[in-house]
């Protein structure tokens, strides 16, 4: 049997007519079969149609650097769940149920994801009426029963300056049997507003999907527009986007190392890295005036160019920060008290990470070789490769150490890019979008794979736009990492993942 998929590369476009429309059974078999052939689920989502709902799947073939796409029509309000055989789609199926009111029959954990009413009036996976709108945080939490079991509930308002989320621990003394994470507090209805675009606000939605990943998400979006418009950005724009993306990674990884140090009470690295994170953000501000890269990445290229003086200044600041980050990190690795807390805490095995479909540093820390810059490169990463940073132990130490390896490699990368900036324009006109097409765009954000999928209508506007932030894949990884840990290690485990609430909640 030939694979029922249509294969595209990252940042490519496909006429919707060429996309195989499978029977539901065949679609299911194809997705489950792809799993056994070593593919990852990058996206699984629904798009409303006249006859009901269309399901779309995008599977990543990391070895070949290709993406397999397929779709199926769903005329009933139920379909057999794929989760029991393919764990990594568990949240995608819950999202399908919540958004479109279809029931993945046999799903072991069918609860709301973001706590909003169904987008299709009259269709509800939980048979709720319009009046009985879902109440955030009110769901059927998993409970452990027993004489000495106690439940710890945290959030949505946390003790620090941090986004809202609700965590429930089932504990026996300090020992955590299970953690359940219930989000949705940041849900502001972004995906629905992208339909019918691009319009004035679209790029601003992209830059605020997850504010600390403005460059990553804006790059994924612009890559998609350029694919649909049939005109690539300029080489200089690719290089500047690459620099901005790596600066974003540097700022956040550095901040994470500092936060991890702070969490185990190792204040030198905590205070140095807090300052250094700001230094990297200020480098991004040197490029475009915004510490988060707002306004930099635009369709067709970048909105801000650099001259030699600015490039030299960036280089100078990079060297100073590189020296200090190395110094701060070496202190961390050299402190036995820190290592005693990092090692063997919050363990995620390679097998579990693969089952859950983890991405980014969390996946690489468990030994998975997943990095879009390496496996599905676009833009500057097609020309200049960046080594993969992998650790094996899957604990807090590994997640911290992978970040450090990436800091070193990103510094080298930015340094070399600054030296070899291609000449030419930093931006060009982006043509109108091709009608009736599908495009997929992946970018390796600092948390992992950012996946944007767009479908255009007959006028070249977005008929559907799907965003999958890396956190969507990874939140369950954090929940699993807490099993059989002490509850007092939760903050440390949490920071070792440092996931986005708003990127998940959209």
């Amino acid at each position: 049997m030939t694979a029922p998929f249509r294969t595209v590369a990252n940042g490519d476009v496909l006429p919707r007519a060429e996309l195989p429309r499978l029977e539901l059974g065949a679609f299911r078999e194809a997705v489950l079969g792809a799993r056994s052939r070593g593919r990852r689920v990058s996206a699984l989502f629904g798009v409303p149609e006249a006859a009901g709902l269309a399901l779309y799947a995008v599977l990543a073939d990391d070895d070949a650097g290709l993406l397999e796409c397929a779709s199926a029509a769903l005329t009933e309000d139920a379909f057999p769940s794929m989760t029991p055989e393919c764990h990594e789609v568990h949240l995608f199926e819950r999202e399908l149920a919540e958004q479109w009111g279809v029931v993945p029959t046999g799903h072991p954990w069918l609860k709301p994801v973001r706590f909003h009413p169904s987008y299709r009036p009259g269709h509800d996976a939980w048979d709720r009426t319009r009046e009985a709108a879902p109440v955030v945080g009110v769901t059927d939490f998993f409970r452990v029963e027993g004489e000495e079991i106690h439940e710890v509930a945290v959030g949505p308002v946390h003790a620090g300056v941090i986004e809202p989320g609700h965590f429930r621990f089932q504990c026996h003394g300090e020992h955590v049997y299970h953690l359940e994470i219930s989000l949705g507090y940041q849900h502001r209805g972004l995906e629905r507003k992208l339909v019918g675009g691009p319009e004035k606000r679209t790029i601003h939605y992209m830059e605020t999907l997850a504010g600390d990943t403005s460059v990553g998400h804006a790059t994924a979006y612009c890559q998609l527009l350029e694919a649909l418009g049939g005109r690539r950005a300029t080489p200089r724009a690719y290089a500047l986007r690459g620099i901005a993306l790596e600066l974003e990674r540097l700022a956040n990884h550095t901040g994470d190392l500092g936060a991890l140090a702070g969490d185990v009470g190792f204040l030198p690295t905590a205070s140095y890295c807090g300052r250094l994170r700001g230094d990297f953000l200020n480098m991004t501000a040197l490029l475009c005036g915004s510490r988060f890269g707002r306004g930099l990445v635009r369709p067709g290229g970048v909105a801000f160019d650099v001259d030699d003086a600015r490039t030299a200044e960036l280089g100078r600041r990079l060297e100073a920060a590189a020296r200090d980050v190395r110094n701060a990190a070496q202190l961390l690795w050299g402190a036995p008290t820190v290592m005693a807390r990092f090692e063997d805490t919050g363990h995620v095995t390679a097998e579990l990470a693969a089952k859950l479909g983890l991405v980014g540093p969390a996946a690489r820390a468990s030994g998975l070789r997943r990095d879009v810059r390496k496996t599905h490169p676009t833009g500057i990463f097609q020309l200049v490769h960046i080594p993969l940073s992998v650790a094996e132990s899957g604990d807090v130490f590994a997640r911290a150490y992978v970040r450090w390896l990436e800091i070193e490699r990103s510094i080298d990368y930015v340094r070399s890019q600054l030296r070899e900036l291609p000449a030419g324009a930093a931006r060009r006109e982006c043509p109108a979008l091709a009608p009736e097409c599908l495009a997929v765009s992946l970018v390796e954000g600092w948390r992992g794979e950012i996946c944007h999928v767009a479908l255009t209508d007959e006028l070249g506007r977005f008929a559907a736009y799907k965003v999958i932030d890396p956190s969507f894949h990874n939140w369950t990884g954090l929940a699993m990492a807490l099993r059989d840990q002490q509850i007092s290690d939760f903050p440390l485990c949490n920071k070792s993942f440092n996931l986005s609430y708003c990127g998940h909640d959209l």
């Binding site: 300056v161 502001r188 004035k200 605020t208 999907l209 504010g211 807090g274």
Partner: protein, 269 residues
């Protein structure tokens, strides 16, 4: 221990001289915008049409720019054929009343300090509980930055605390999503009076990029009374700090640190 001490020497003293000295700001910073309605050709609506959040309006009073709705993007600047709108690197933009944020050609008035009674209570010690209510986490990140050694919020007696029961007020970010409304209300109710509320960022002032979405409430003002508005998307940390210090009357005439007016900010540390 010796290694730590050596590293301390290497890393150096990093706390900014602000507010005594002018702050180091990027030269491309999009700070306080300046609007010049005299340049507007009659009937031109280019900036209004370009603005993603209806921050720019032309009404019977002429051209107005609402800093509370502004995302500090470049759309209106690029759209204007006459250069009637431009950004400066001025970071000071806080205001006490919502309507003060609408620019009509002049420069924003400095935010008024609290009244004498409130200043007696809070001037030397202000404890804030931060509530994140549906934004994109950028405002939270730049509020967090104020606790690093560079800004060292603690030296002004301002601190973010873990419990609303320990707090003198709330610092709110995000447009207040439907799913955070109750949590925000409960947190506000838990703060003992007298209390103050500070809205940080376009979302918390007007809903920001999400203004008008059914899933949110167009800012903190829909749920709680706001005493200080700090615009930006996100505001620069110094914009937030300046707002807090202005509120507490901690910026005397000698200690008002404005934007560096001459030279390029590129050569600042």
């Amino acid at each position: 221990m010796w290694r730590i001490l050596f590293s301390r020497l290497k890393q150096g003293h990093r706390t900014a001289a602000y507010p005594v000295a002018a702050p180091a700001l990027p030269d491309r910073l999009r700070g306080h915008p300046v609007v010049d309605p005299t340049r507007c050709p009659s009937g031109c609506q280019a900036c209004v049409e370009a603005c993603p959040t209806d921050a720019v309006r032309v009404d019977d009073q002429g051209l107005g720019l609402d800093l509370g709705r502004c995302l500090f993007c470049q759309e209106c600047v690029s759209a204007c054929p006459e250069g009637a709108i431009r950004y400066t690197t001025e970071h000071r933009m806080a205001a006490r009343r919502r309507e003060e944020l609408v620019l009509r050609g002049a420069v924003l008035e400095r935010a008024q300090a609290l009244d004498a009674k409130m200043l007696r209570l809070f001037r030397r010690s202000l404890k804030l509980r931060q509530v994140s209510a549906g934004g994109c986490n950028a405002c939270e990140a730049d509020v967090n930055v104020l606790s690093t050694v560079v800004f060292d919020l603690g030296r002004f007696g301002i601190q973010v605390v873990a419990s609303p029961r320990h707090a003198d007020g709330l610092l709110i970010t995000g447009p207040v999503t439907e799913n955070m409304k109750l949590a925000l209300q409960k947190t506000y109710d838990a703060v003992p009076p007298p209390k103050i509320v500070i809205a940080v960022g376009a979302c918390a002032i007007s809903g920001g990029p999400y203004a008008g979405h059914a899933e949110q409430h167009d800012g903190a003002g829909a749920v709680v009374p706001v005493d200080l508005f700090i615009p930006g998307c996100p505001p620069h940390p110094l914009t937030i700090l300046d707002g807090l210090l202005a509120l507490l009357d901690r910026l005397g005439p000698k200690r008002v640190a404005g934007a560096a007016t001459s030279g390029s900010a590129m050569d600042t540390p």
